[in-house]
Point group: C2
């Protein structure tokens, strides 16, 4: 099932990211989500949303972005953390990153919009909800969209049938998504699609990713 | 003046381009326009819309793309031609390309939608119309937008005050744009914007570019 995240499963903890791409020098966009971390200022996104032949610049996160509206403000990246293998080899199974954002007016982003839980070791083969901001047709980047489906493992990645396009990269794959609260548990992150836009992929989030998460969360 | 190219200055000879980016491996989009060439199948676009650390793949042109509609069909690239300096040095003043597309059902694209004229040696300091398909906010890539203004030279480039965003790259800068026909004379091509999206840049289209044009037009 693919649809517009209006009313039913839209999440305040998911937002659109804007940045200047290091490879092209041009403005681009991705998706990201808030993690229910100790620091309260940690986001999950894709590795290529922070690093592509260099670190991206002027990186901002707009939770719950909707047709130009920024209901919970704009949050600036302070730190990027991605596996060193993503930088050295750029393989899709390492395409994950955490982003530390600055508090805004003394308020942590987690306290402003909430965040998704960590439950390391979650398996594939279960039903998940994918959220993000695709911007290529038939989407326009202007609002949050979602897919729901069962994930299948594929080597060190997993896949789900989903028609979201470029721009959905970095959006979360959530277990036990609660439509009333808009939160769930992090089970993956969108990194790739196929040419026909029928399938999305995520890395399997294993122990090395959660080690990276703990490292990222204590940066200050 | 910036506005939506609905009714007044929309051009059939300008379209949206979709391709798989060689640098990122992901689908992306640009703009391009048909040239009134002898071959009848030549487009003008930006260099980075065909080459970025490799030649882009699965490159299609949709003239007059409008909210998912493809009123004049989809045209596939057969050849890309860009200055060798764009490939070796990637400087913005060389960021231009010509694309030869395949006829569709025996019909040349120029015969289907028309094209903009060549008038080598046109100067800066004159009033021009810029057209394209910006997709970052406040735009959504779903329809043609335009700017009109006076161009100013800046080294080997020229600039114009214009708020179009990423995705407008490759769109034409036209002299003597005729709002009734939707055609003009090629005076430049959008290649860059600034972070605040207040200004666009184009290379100065000099003799070397028109030599490249003649080479591209005879490819078959």
């Amino acid at each position: 099932m693919t649809g517009m995240a209006g009313g039913v499963p839209a999440s305040r903890a998911v937002g659109r990211v804007f940045f200047t791409d290091a490879a092209s020098g041009r403005r681009s966009s991705c998706s990201a989500s808030v993690v229910a971390s100790d620091s309260g200022n940690l986001l999950l996104t894709a590795g290529h949303c922070v690093y592509s032949r260099g670190w991206h610049r002027d990186w901002i996160f707009v939770p719950s972005y909707d047709q130009g509206k920024r209901p919970f403000g704009v949050w600036r990246a302070e730190w990027f953390v991605t596996p060193s293998r993503w930088i050295t080899h750029g393989r899709p199974e390492d395409d994950v990153a955490f982003v530390k954002v600055a508090s805004s007016g003394g308020v942590r982003i987690l306290d402003r919009v909430g965040g998704n839980g960590i439950r390391p070791g979650a398996a594939t083969g279960r039903r998940r909800t994918v959220l993000g901001y695709p911007f290529l047709p038939p989407y326009r980047g202007d609002r949050q969209h979602y897919c729901e489906g069962v994930t299948r493992s594929e080597g060190r990645r997993m896949r789900m049938a989903c028609r979201l396009t470029t721009g959905a990269s970095g959006g979360p794959w959530l277990d036990s998504y609660d439509r009333s609260t808009g939160f769930g548990y992090i089970g993956g992150v969108t990194t790739n699609t196929d040419l026909a836009n029928t399938t999305l992929w995520s890395p399997l989030l294993g122990g090395d990713v959660w080690t990276l998460y703990r490292y990222a969360d204590q940066l200050r």
